[in-house]
């Protein structure tokens, strides 16, 4: 339980630190933060094994952290340092750390879904009971790659978990303006894929849904679709004033903050005390500070690196 809380706090602290560093121009690029959506990453990855594989999209920091990628290497990547997980060649939207099972992220909306199809295909062929999970937003649900991939995953019974983070918006536009389908999990039904729509701000509900789906996939039952209803508490990208949504909507969702909600539940159940809760947050913040500090001293890549690693071997 405390592990889930610690993961969520680490993600929150990481994203807040990224925002701060971005203001100081110490990290760069198009940054999409996942503040408010931590329960999806933490709950889902807690239900996966280290050997399971994750593919993410343009909002990947939380997924990478929850899958166990070293935070200092993430900060360093965002800062463009050679010590970054991708040697500074990837950046925020293209994080990769395959040894942790975090195969890659991609900045192409929908592209992650088709890539994950191949990751799941390989998992199946390796016959080691590994499963693949792909995180994507509601905006990806209207892409061709999404529908092509649902069809093939269902047809071939691939061990693939489609994890949709439905935060209600794609950039500045509400989902209702992009599709007449209000629940994206209904697309799964069309293809005969078992699906569930869960409260994405309830970390235990997410974990349970993903556990069930992973067990089904491991048993040869094929793909599942889990739609997690959530909300991003910040703009679409760092610097987005988010004028397209009502302040009342934002404050409403703030009361459903996944971290505070889970902490309150734990205290209420007597699982732990207020002090222990605060200690978890403090530890997470301290580890994030230390990681950011470490990253800030990383070496810059040599400019010769521009043309290295274009080809393998």
């Amino acid at each position: 339980m405390l592990r889930l809380l610690r993961t969520m706090w680490t993600i929150r602290a990481f994203e807040e630190k990224v925002s701060e560093l971005f203001g100081r121009r110490e990290v760069h690029g198009l940054l999409h933060l996942s503040i408010g959506q931590e329960a999806v990453a933490a709950g889902a990855c807690a239900a996966l094994r280290t050997t399971d594989r994750v593919v993410s999209g343009h909002r990947p920091h939380g997924h990478a952290i929850a899958k166990g990628v070293d935070i200092a290497s993430l900060f360093a990547e965002l800062a463009g340092r050679e010590t970054g997980c991708c040697r500074g060649k990837g950046g925020s939207m293209h994080l990769a750390a395959p040894t942790t099972g975090f195969v890659t992220a991609t900045g192409i909306v929908g592209g992650n879904v088709a890539l994950a199809l191949g990751v799941a295909f390989a998992c199946k062929e390796r016959e080691k009971q590994e499963v693949a999970a792909v995180f994507f937003g509601d905006g990806a649900g209207q892409s061709g790659a999404f529908h092509e991939s649902l069809n093939i995953a269902a047809l071939w019974k691939l061990p693939l978990l489609f994890i949709c983070e439905n935060n209600g918006y794609a950039e500045f536009t509400p989902l209702s303006a992009h599709t007449p389908i209000s629940q994206l999990a209904r697309h799964a039904e069309t293809y005969g894929i078992p699906s569930a729509t869960v409260d994405g701000n309830d970390v235990l509900a997410v974990r349970t849904a993903i556990s069930d789906a992973a067990a089904r996939a491991r048993a040869g039952g094929g793909p599942s679709f889990i739609e997690c209803m959530t909300y991003r508490l910040r703009g679409h990208y760092e610097g987005d004033p988010a004028k397209y949504r009502e302040l009342s909507e934002l404050s409403d969702w703030k009361t459903k903050d996944p971290i505070r909600r889970f902490a309150a539940t734990l205290v209420k159940k007597g699982t732990c005390t207020h002090e222990q809760m605060r200690a978890v947050e403090a530890e997470a913040r301290a580890s994030v500070e230390a990681a950011a500090q470490k990253a800030s001293t990383g070496a810059w890549p040599s400019v010769d690196e521009v043309t290295t690693l274009v080809y393998a071997g």
């Binding site: 594989r53 593919v55 970054g84 997980c85 991708c86 040697r87 500074g88 060649k89 990837g90 950046g91 293209h94 990769a96 750390a97 395959p98 040894t99 195969v103 890659t104 991609t106 192409i108 592209g111 879904v113 088709a114 890539l115 994950a116 199809l117 191949g118 990751v119 799941a120 295909f121 390989a122 998992c123 062929e125 390796r126 061709g144 790659a145 092509e148 991939s149 069809n151 093939i152 047809l155 690693l309 274009v310 080809y311 393998a312 071997g313």
Partner: protein
Amino acid sequence: MAELTYIEAINSALREELARDRGVYVIGEDVALGGPFGATKGLAAEFGERRVVNTPISEGAIMGLATGAAAMGLRPVIEVMFVDFITLAMDQLVNHAAKLHYMSGGQLGIPLTVRVQQGAAGNGGAQHSQSLEAWFIHVPGLKVVMPSNPADAKGLLTAAIRDDSPVICIEHRALYWTRGEVPDGEHTIPIGRAALRRPGKDVTLVATSRMVEVALEVAGTLANEGIEVEVIDPRSLLPLDLDTITASLRKTGRLVIAHEAVEGAGFGAELLAQVQEAAFDYLDAPIARVGAPFAPVPASPVLEQAFVPGAERLAGAVRKVVLGA
């Protein structure tokens, strides 16, 4: 040596690699049924439909599937039925397959092979006859090979499958049923090495894919006129064996480039630029390019024939470069 058709040579490369490496998968539309041109004939019966995998008509997802599987260490060989259809898979090819090795800081390898055929033959019209190799040579991270005969079809495909980077093997549909000697057993050709098809001292003619055949015909004709044409087949457009071409220019001082794709912004334009940067001092005449006119491929047999650069046009261009205007 055995005499095989180009398509049989491809089939034999696929069969041998499927047998050699459990990580090799052949994936595409109707491939388990032999494919529309027979390249994958018999493979499903021999290796099972788990390794010779039929897909729905979802080019984007297939390219994504193969890229993701390659990132996991498998060696997928996908067949895209016509190069014209690769338009639907460009995101996965260009944004993912080509870049994942680089973007991941070298952590991911993408040992992916894309087999695709192209060319104007059989009056398929504008959406089934294009030559699009120039699109791919503009993308860092991809390798592009274009076999012009059965032996190269086998050797280059085998090398592509064993390569740890994504390689696009662009076959020419009109060559599928041409015959040639193919070395028995394992046969690989290093990617990035050109072939001298005919020596000559007066002019270098660099021709790709089906234009190699045309270039050799032209060289024969011009020999009778006292012009000795050296024909070079780059075989691999990316990486390009520029050294072999400049070495030839050192001798001939003249260059004509021939490809079936439209001339504008084509491989010829790129080669021309590279040659003038690397070998300007060897040149005794302006470089000529011969490609298709800047138009979609027309359907009518009369128009298609006029579209494809033929021997007459090519001979005219070579004469002009050698003899002056």
